[in-house]
Amino acid sequence: METVNFSVNGREVTVDADGDTPLLDILRNRLGLRGAKFGCGLEQCGCCMVLVDGRPEKSCGKALATVRGRQVLTIEGLGTVDHPHPLQQAFLDEQAGQCGYCLPGILISAKALLDRNPDPTRRQIAEALDENICRCGSHHRILRAVALAARRMRDQGQAA
């Protein structure tokens, strides 16, 4: 058991837990942030994707101790119904999703992409999402939605 301090969605948190506990479990069960999902537990599907210091990381395989002092962003920190992130708005506008279980992870991966590349090509978007599985087959809508968000953000001179 150890004490780990880090920040989640801009809020400082302190967690007492085994350092090798998966970050995903801490987020979901200790911090009540259930937006990141368990998909495979093998870092293969991307449902549990979060940003750690701005980099996309699969939280199912990320030990709690490794985020000590770092900044974690989950889907709950991306935007809200009242203040949606342009990516979230674009996913709604493009109706990009079916079962939707993969979407929080996909939105996080897309956010990481737009942070480093505000004007990605379709192929670059597809490659950035290659770590995320969607089994329902909403890929085209998702690719369109990310491109739409990027365009809107560029038009508004907005950072991701």
Binding site: C102, L103, A126
Partner: protein, 654 residues
Amino acid sequence: MSGPMALPPLLASNPRLSLWVAFDRPGEVRVATGRVEIGQGVLTAMRQIAAEELEVALDRIRLQSGDTDLTPNEGYTAGSQSIQFGGVALRQACAEVRDLFLDHAAASFGYERGDLAVMDGAILERGRPTGHDYWSLAGAVDLARPARGDRGPKARSDGKIVGRSAPRIDLAGKVFGEPVFVHDMALDGLRHARIVRQPRRGATIRSLDEAGLRRAAKGPIDIARRGNFLAIVGDDESVVEAAAAVAANYVEWDGVEPLNPLQEEARWLLQQPSLDRVVGDPPPTAPVPPRNRYEATYTRMHVAHASVAPSCGVAVYRDGRLDVWTHSQGVFPLREALARMLALDPTAIRVRHVQGPGCYGHNGADDAAADAAALAVQMPGVPVRVRWRREEEFGFEPMSPAMVVTTSALIDEAGRPADWTTEIWSGRHSNRPGSGGNLLAAEALPDPPPAPPVTESSNPPGAGTRNGEPLYAFAAKRIVHHLIPETPVRTSSLRGLGATLNVFAIEGAMDELAERAGQDPVAYRLALLADPRARAVIERVAAMSGWEPGLPAGTGRGRGIGFARYKNMAAYAAVVVEVEAEAEIRVQRVWCACDAGLVINPDGAVNQLEGGIIQATSWALKRGFGSTAPALPRAIGMAIRSCASARCPKSPWN
């Protein structure tokens, strides 16, 4: 006014109107459907249907879905039948409710019935407000009465909401990361559980080293055992999950029949005892001369549902009542199965649907719910959440069965089949728990139930034989079906059931026969189809794709066309694919034309078609893996990566 008509079947079996529609909060309409959201957008469509008939704005409708206490019993949300049966029943119920209010207003306030109409819930007389609405009259209009079938729904041409794209009502919660899935449920005092599954069905525990398992755990766990149903329960999910990962080291089993890899191959089916039948015309009597004979065989391995996440169920047993939350496709059949498994009265059980990851058929959802229920009754008052492990979903969910399909035909002088046979070998495609068995927990508990009877749907719609009969105008055609009732791999329903391989085999044959006859594959098909809707989708997709037969040899690229009418009784679809074959086969572009009749939500239908095309492409192109394969985690990774986005086909919607 026309006389009474036959009620839609699901309204006849759930006739009380108040079960479907209620005005229990001002300004709001409670609408209930037995259908459940499994990613297909059905709740959005149901809301459109109800809003259309009740003449209210979409956002006034609060939908209740899949709840054994509160919604109609519509069996399973399966078989692409939600709108056709559930939607039609809901439409009729709403139409009758609307008319009851108008009848009441006319009778009570002296209006001419023909002058009355509803606008957003308010009752108008010749377009002017009457001051009455659904909510003000709700106390006076008793909806606890049976539907009568004496009024019909609005004329289609009057539609304002149905037939226009509406945004999905469930999507916002998903993009904002709200806890909308059963996996996300957090009840007070919730305990987490993992099942230590029988390695094979029928296996029995020889020894269990409880002390060793506790020592191996990283924190406190409880071990719950009844018969061969063994579970690890605890407050800390991480501890429970880690213990489950090593639990196999502390249990010895008897009766573990190892699976022979050959048993997972489709051709294994050819040597098995089978229940045989012929559907269609009698077999030909004269032998077919070899030069007039066509024959081809296609096989398919078992196919996993491969939901993006493993199944989950939550249950609590309190004061003799069992509450279950599940992403099962059928809350009512599951309730019956749970009642039998636990020897409870069905009325003491409430099963509610909560969304899960896309299932595409009968995956582990029902089993996970049964696991949670079986544990809940052992620990009254404690909510129990069972989330399957990834290995569990791939190893124990019912797979879509392996199949062998042989098409054979007698070719006439014009190069067309004069006699056609589709011969099908398959395990069982329809094995849901409602028929009395096929819940893993029930089989592991003491006194397991007898195996349910082997049943097989007749054609149409058929299960393994689904779409086995070509729609083409052949003088004689038949299906020869070999149902293998017992297979070592557990099987059940996956999207399309047998249609996937049957259509593949038939359409493959059509292409080969067209080539043999020296004809264009589109023209060859059209010459054998009289149904104008069938012809229309083929002609449309040919036009959309700028169809040309094949591409020059040596380009490594080609085009193919496929056509089917689902179950030979539902939607028509034709698809053209452009394929590149180099080191690997890649689907470059897909065009699809579909005639699904009256479409409630066009964008929802397009979304489903896109998804179906991509998923079927993943089935066709990606290698299977057996559960006997080494390095299971790696195989799992390959399987769930079967549809990586960068390898997605291009499409005209894009």
